[in-house]
Symmetry: D2
Subunit: 156 residues, 4 copies
């Protein structure tokens, strides 16, 4: 099982702005594209999670650091991994590379809370947990440990 | 009751593209802003139509003619009117003006079919029909009449 | 040389709306994706046309008919062809198919005017014209002929 | 001079997703709306900064915490302030409130680097610095001080 998924995205004209580069909010859409693809490779169909398991992966936090601009028609790789998961939350990490140069152009994270159709937090269904477990994404053993790792990331 | 609604939209940076003007697909979003506002002024809350009356206004056709560019931070007026309605369809017409110059920058139309939650076409609930009627938007008297008016429009 | 280009688009979560289907304005973005790909297959790099040939392909008119909904994660084919071109304008036609069922879900057109960096209309550079010509996209022989074909299309 | 700007945003149908709430990336667009409005109230026209002063405010970092969902047609207040500025960077902070309930629904930050047309970092022109200064946004006195304040924010 993969510990990350690489997805190709080609920059659309619609995604550029008058500065001639990609408008920054669009990176979060690409993160979503990468996240859906990682889930698929882990055997989890996002669409089915909603309809069959009443599990919605609501975004609680999102962040991105922009290193270099992306331009119209660029081919990019969105690399996605599960950074951490707990009973009710999943944290994904993303890196976006420029395929031609190999350069890292952005890196980000999203934190998600599992909710039911009505927006009430619930535990991640067991079958998803086992998926993440076999994918080599160990759950955070304690809130303390999680915080420590997050701090290490933030100080990069 | 108004026969049209004027709504102000200020161009967002996100809506521009690398040509330095508004990306064309965004005009359809502004049309939606105008449509929702016209409905509100007619006493119809779009949000309630969906939740309380199981009436979804699905887009069946959309078109726009672009006359002049719109630019970041421009103040625009979106003028919306009901061009025509029948038992199951509504046609809205839009004009977008540049507020500073008064110039027409785009004009368009959308045709909508009333559907229930499952996407099945249904008749427009009576209370909406009376709203449109008092607003001076007569229903098309016959398919022939509707077609004739549409032709007149297309040849503009 | 191809007379059309088929491009795959997977529906993004960001492209859906609260009706549970793709928001209609996004089809125009997919048309752009198809248009850029067709140009690439004809040997025309959209990005270079702007920077090297000072030729911007400005949208003058856009329209779409929606036949069936598209949903999150659906794989779609955007089929694009040059419907007609003249000295200063190009008209592209699009069909969007649902890959799983083969069903046509939408069809549309965009009309473009070739402009320079300052937005002034100009003739399509000769090298592009020969591209379109060899691709089996004959120029409209006369305004009258073009109009007639367009009428035939509109009456569909 | 104001130390913050309040801007009203009404949620567009286009901004919702199939979960029935606003798609998370759109908050960053609202942040931009608030940022442009704050600059305007400080006497800085964003559009002119680019054309007249060759100063582009490139996004280097963006983050958002989502507290409560926003829904179609909701009226929201985007409250924006300059959290900190230095010679070449500006940090804006945002809070989004639901106007009907007064509840905070999201809070975020963006860090910007001032660049010229070619993307090279440059110092913020003096006239902007004096604007921020009189607006009660003191520059960070030292990297250490800035970091400390940021940490206090992150631990909220």
């Amino acid at each position: 099982m993969p510990d990350h998924a690489d997805t190709t995205v080609r920059v659309r004209y619609a995604e550029t702005d008058q500065m001639g580069i990609v408008y920054h909010a669009n990176y979060f859409v690409w993160f979503e594209v990468g996240r859906v693809e990682l889930c698929r490779q882990l055997g989890l169909e996002y669409a089915r999670m909603e309809t069959e398991d009443d599990s919605f992966i609501v975004v609680a936090k999102a962040s991105c650091r922009y290193k270099r601009p992306a331009r119209f028609d660029d081919l990019l790789t969105v690399r996605t991994r599960v950074a951490e998961w707990q009973r009710r939350t999943i944290r994904f990490a993303y890196e976006v590379f420029h395929q031609a140069s190999g350069e890292l152009i952005a890196a980000g994270e999203t934190l998600h809370v599992v909710c039911d159709r009505l927006g009430r937090p619930k535990s991640l269904p067991a079958k998803y947990r086992s998926c993440f477990a076999t994918a080599g994404c160990p759950p955070a053993q304690s809130p303390g440990a999680a915080t420590q790792r997050r701090k290490a990331h933030d100080s990069n």
